[in-house]
Amino acid sequence: MTSILLGILSPLAFVNTLAGTIGKRISVVAIALMVAVTLLQVFCRYVLNNALPWPDEAARFLMLWLTGLMGPVALRQGGFVAIETIHQYFSNTALKILSIVLLVMMLIVLVVAIKLGWKHVNSGWLFASSSLRIPLDLIGMKIVKVKLAWMYMSLFVGVVLMTLVTVELLLRQIVRLLGGENELHPIPIVADVKGAE
């Protein structure tokens, strides 16, 4: 039983680690760009006396995507805030079972969210962003307005990746319950997580 679970676990862990590595690269660039476009906006408003229409929305676009990409990484590292005070009163086995129950609850939320998210993304093809354009006129084509779906997709992708992570965590917890603790590889730490505090 344990070996079957470990067999499913290893490709899943590979995908999640890969998504985390790619997500981190993109997010580092995204956050640098967020700062840059916000500064550009301040510069244009005061120095050039000509506020640009797009930096605010572009920065939000980047922030949404880095949330979609890094949120799952944080979840995988156990970086989501939870009150674990009562866990010290549980026996080891009871705690493992409780963790499985909690992970199943999380999975339910995520599966419902995938369904709703898909509809949400599709509704976004009907609307274009108010300020974001792809300046294809620079290469002699027409300017394309960015569809809102590209923004909506960030949360959807985040939910899908979080589902993969939760399945991985759930399988790990089941392996632990079956006594296969030692055969689990540790989850790689991409970056420390802190809160707003």
Partner: protein
């Protein structure tokens, strides 16, 4: 039926479901049982709409600015400055610790950053001078809660966003309370220093040397002036101010002081990205939760119950402080604010408490909660920085917590402490 979602939510929270999921599953499940499936779709949309916010971007930006300054060796300059000013007093390094926290608070909005930056520097230095490790860790943790009270403040940005208040007004309202906490802690240090004969840290600096230390701290100390001056003068929004602070920190770190390396940046950025992802998801879930809070009429039911306890606002404020303090013992300030703000604030605003005043009561109380056992975030950080056990720090911190509780009550019952600066500057009328 829907009224049940609060107790259900609390049970999920208590058994250890991550706050993000508890905020969604409790209202979601009850909406589903109620047959309101359209509203569940609304829940999802509100997560997205809640996250899609320019004001919230100030949180990762301020965090970035603080970390860049720390990496760039700016913390050391602040500590040197504090030492030049207060090092000659009895209990010198303890005073330096508090003053450094107050200065650092003007650059960073985070108590955790404050504890780890100042603690890794000052705790070993204090031990070398003969302070116990638990005392050194305790004063570091106790003073670091000033970080989110003196602006900028991650917690206040969240509060302002979730409750629709002005970030600038909350920032301004936090200045005096933050300074009060600092002064209170210094008084406590002074009393203890006389009683236990604490060492002085250094000889008295001459004014010339103080001038030199001030000059070295000039660039970092300019940051809060730029941030607050910019916001106050209407030059930029808090988010833009935060981006300017990042740009400024990078500029002086890379080019003026040349203490920052380009290779440091990717690591700092990754951490900021991770943090903002966690905070943003939480705020998004909180905005979804908030819609169900208002659908359920829970605030009215709760208000009815609270008002049956007493109709005297002062008594109720006292009780609410007790509640917040207990919540702060178990929950971090950010999640506590996004859960309790929408439920509690309307009740007290109806009783005639100014929304900004209530925001400060709540933020300061829950921020102090970061340093209270058993689940105090900064206690854990102080423990990992110092190597001292959490329980021992938790005992040593008690006198300082008493001071902070006294300040909380002062802030609660004397609104002018928080409200004067925002009123004078016209951010609150």
């Amino acid at each position: 039926m829907l009224v049940w979602f609060l107790p259900v939510f609390l049970v999920f929270l208590m058994i250890g479901l991550p706050v993000f999921f508890a905020l969604l599953i409790a209202p979601g499940a009850l909406l589903w049982l109620n047959g309101q499936e359209r509203d569940i779709a609304l829940l999802y949309r509100n997560i997205y709409n809640g996250m899609d916010s320019f004001p919230l971007m100030a949180i990762p930006f301020f965090m970035l600015a603080g970390e860049l300054m720390n990496r760039g060796g700016i913390t050391e300059r602040l500590v040197e400055f504090a030492q030049a000013m207060m090092g000659h007093l009895r209990g010198g390094l303890a005073h330096v610790n508090v003053l450094s926290s107050m200065l650092f608070a003007g650059l960073s909005g985070s108590a955790v950053a404050d504890t780890s930056a100042l603690g890794s520097m000052l705790i070993p230095a204090m031990e070398k001078q003969g302070y116990t490790r638990r005392f050194s860790a305790a004063i570091t943790a106790a003073s670091s809660v000033i970080g989110p009270i003196i602006p900028p403040s991650g917690i206040m940005i969240i509060y302002a966003y979730v409750m629709g208040e002005s970030v600038a007004a909350l920032f301004l309202a936090g200045i005096v309370p933050g300074i009060l906490v600092g002064i209170g802690l210094m008084l406590a240090v002074k009393v203890m220093a006389d009683k236990y004969d604490f060492p002085v840290a250094s000889r008295k600096y001459t004014w010339g040397e103080r001038g030199q230390a001030s000059l070295k701290a000039f660039f970092p100390l300019l940051t809060p002036v730029i941030i607050l001056g910019g916001i106050l003068g209407g030059i930029f929004t808090p988010t833009e101010a935060a981006a300017v602070a990042v740009g400024y920190a990078m500029f002086i770190g890379l080019f003026v002081l040349k203490t920052l390396k380009l290779s440091d940046l990717s690591d700092v950025f990754a951490r900021a990205a991770m943090t903002s992802a966690v905070v943003l998801l939480l705020v998004g879930a909180a905005m979804a939760f908030k819609t169900v809070v208002s659908l359920s009429h829970a605030p009215e039911t709760l208000a009815h119950w609270i008002l049956s306890l007493s109709d005297n606002p002062l008594v109720l404020l006292f009780l609410i402080n007790l509640l917040l303090f207990v919540v702060g013992m178990f929950l971090d300030a950010g999640p506590a604010i996004i859960i309790l703000g929408p439920i509690l604030a309307p009740i007290f605003v109806n009783l005639g408490i100014h929304p900004v005043h209530f925001a400060i009561i709540m933020s300061v109380n829950l921020t102090v909660g970061l340093a209270t056992p058993p689940m105090g975030l900064v206690l854990f950080v102080a423990s990992s920085v110092s190597g001292e056990r959490v329980e021992r720090i938790a005992r040593a911190i008690v006198p300082f917590l008493l001071v902070e509780v006294a300040v909380i009550f002062l802030i609660t019952f004397v609104p002018a402490i928080s409200m004067t600066i925002p009123r004078l500057t016209g951010f609150v009328n």
